[in-house]
Amino acid sequence: MNKDLERLISLHDLDVMISDLQNKDIQKQEKKLGLSPAAAVVELKKMRSELSLLITRRNRDMYDQLASHYGNAVVPVIHERCSGCFTQLPTAFVASPDRNKRVETCPACGRFIYWCD
């Protein structure tokens, strides 16, 4: 898999983690387990900054724009459709042997897409 694509997926999962730990209901449950979600968020945000610097500027900026617009900037392709907007992807696009070896975006919504091979 393309390294930038791997980092974009990790960045997305990290953003989900941060968002979850800022969710009041999840915070409440994590505290009941003896965990400290607020402290974890501080550390995760530092890690996020470090990770985002490893992503090429163009993709990083695009990720931030997509995330603020849609909430999710990276989505898997499921049954040859972008799972963000459910648009059927062109056959040539889907059949490409290089899929996941390049950073691809959905031609309809622009989200980063990857194949769960």
Partner: protein, 151 residues
Amino acid sequence: MKRPIFSNWSITSVTRKTALAELLKLFSFQKTTEELLLTALETREQAEPTIVHNGIAMPHCRSILVDDFMIAVGKSEKGIPWPGKKVKIIILFITPVKPSGPEEHMKLIKHLAKLLRTDGAEKLLKADSPIEAASILHFTLQESKQNEQRP
């Protein structure tokens, strides 16, 4: 909450990261998926170790790389440095990122918190088998795909 779980009742790893990798192998993911999930779980642990009881860790995250709940329970007789404290039982779970939000993820944490805060944690540490552990957690033990592939 009768969810299927996988188990490894004889974890041989001696570090947190390798123990997480050993448990992730139970799900038989593709290599890249496995590596990315390991990164996510390890990142969470680096931010704050998820030790929820003396001897029990609960590494967890939500990820776009899974489309269903992935739960595994593991046991190490010798204990794994986490890194400050020794962990003998690991309850690992990864939940999918759904448009509906983190509701199901929260429910699972709530379910485990409730069990562990009563006498579940002590029972789990004394459990003799993965079947017993699954029963304590109110889950259903599932045969690992990794084991199924063995001759």
